[in-house]
């Protein structure tokens, strides 16, 4: 990219030009510290969200209504934990040790997505999460296929491929409930009423491009928050409505020019929730902490195995 003897400022400038021209970066390439830190912060939050995101759904594995639903939900949970593994590996390669990431997550120093701080009150929540939360997430994730950091882009190809089954499975649950008894439809409507607010907050507040360095300077992501939210609304609101279901926003409508109008999401709630003050934040972190502590002997055993094989030169 640049010659070895160029000073860091010139190197950083050349790097920015490389990014601006749509250039890709590999783990072994030189990169400015600022880019590395932005990548770690972004990918770590993504990994944390995958890891914490299985907890609301995990609660329903034992209560899934049929064996096939149980298999599918278990498979989805396994996929999401697998995504966390892939993403933590990327962050590790960028220089942040796994143990440090777990410590920061458990101590509340790093964050995870707002939607995983809420309770799952019924089986309908599982359908709404798998269909709509995953659909909203996949829009952001598809936008990451064009990220400047090539190992992240390749990882996202795999992740998006797996997410497509989650959405279909969630849609199946929702359509099944929507075609069921009055009680089942009521359950579904209640889940939608509770999840719509968090879903509208999920992509984050509209940010002026000049303040969104991950978007404009480093091209870690390729689409802005508001753009993603509008895309989500335009695609999924009609699909919810056609099932005879309502969404709890009286202002929600398609304007004559085809664009969508909706009430401003509650940004104060978003800030509170991602600051680990959501309805289930403390409980989920405590559960993760308990599991991490209970798994300590496994990590220690594995570390011992590594030391043993290295000593033997195997």
């Amino acid at each position: 990219m640049t010659t070895g003897h160029a000073n860091d400022t010139a190197r950083a400038e050349a790097f920015k030009q490389h990014i601006a021209a749509g250039g890709k970066v590999e783990a072994s390439d030189w990169m400015p510290g600022e880019y590395r830190h932005a990548l770690i912060r972004f990918i770590e939050m993504h990994a944390n969200s995958e890891l914490m995101g299985v907890l609301p759904e995990r609660e329903w594995i034992m209560r899934a209504p049929t064996l096939r639903r149980k298999l599918a939900l278990t498979a989805k949970v396994q996929d999401e934990v697998g995504h966390a593994q892939l993403l933590y590996r990327l962050a590790e390669d960028l220089g942040k040790p796994r143990a440090q990431m777990m410590d920061d997550l458990l101590a509340g120093r790093t964050k995870f997505h707002n939607v995983f701080h809420y309770p799952t009150q019924s089986w309908a929540d599982v359908g709404v999460i798998a269909w709509l939360v995953d659909a909203a997430a996949i829009l952001s994730q598809k936008a990451l296929l064009g990220t400047s950091y090539a190992p992240y882009a390749r990882t996202m190809q795999r992740i998006c491929w797996e997410e497509s089954f989650h959405i279909k499975h969630g849609y199946d649950i929702v359509v099944t409930l929507a075609g069921g008894t009055a009680a089942q439809r009521a359950l579904l409507q209640d889940a939608l009423n509770r999840w719509w607010g968090p879903l509208m907050q999920m992509h984050g507040p509209p940010t002026p491009p000049e303040h969104d360095r991950d978007l404009t300077l480093w091209r870690i992501k390729t689409r802005g928050n508001e753009d993603l939210r509008r895309d989500f609304i335009a695609t999924y609101v009609p699909r919810v409505w056609e099932l005879g279901l309502a969404l709890p926003d009286p202002a929600l409508r398609r304007a004559d020019n085809g664009s969508w109008e909706y009430s401003p999401p509650d940004w104060a709630e978003l800030r509170t929730v991602v600051g680990n003050h959501g309805p289930r934040s403390a409980e989920r972190l405590a559960f993760r902490r308990l599991n991490y502590e209970q798994g300590a002997w496994v990590r220690e055993t594995m570390a011992g195995e590594q030391a043993r094989t290295q000593t033997c030169g195997i």
């Binding site: 250039g23 498979a75 089954f165 499975h169």
Partner: protein, 99 residues
């Protein structure tokens, strides 16, 4: 008699951002020479953006089909496992009748 050369597996990246894919292998008496051979065989027309080599003996292999493709039904893990078109249309006509 000279020792058998070590076999190195060669991986190449076709263009920036692309994944590493297996290209082939070379035999060489040292890693430095293996890289030169790989460069001449898999990179001399500018067809590779990057090359990686590793001794074949460094690879752990798995191709047991009983593990990788078990006969159990895995359709619940795939998009094809959920046929939604008919199910959706049935629900929509059901809703239509109610109106």
């Amino acid at each position: 008699m000279a020792a058998e050369p070590t076999v190195y597996e060669v991986f190449r990246r076709e263009k920036p951002g692309a994944p590493m894919t297996h290209a082939g292998s070379v035999g060489a008496p040292s890693p430095d020479l293996a890289l030169i051979y790989a460069r001449e065989i898999f990179g001399r027309r500018g067809e590779s953006d990057a090359l990686w080599i590793a001794p074949r003996s460094a690879f752990q292999l798995l191709d047991d089909q009983d593990i990788l493709r078990p006969v159990l039904d895995r359709s619940h893990r795939t998009v094809e496992g959920y046929r939604m078109r008919d199910k959706r249309e049935q629900l929509l006509s059901q809703l239509e009748t109610k109106r």
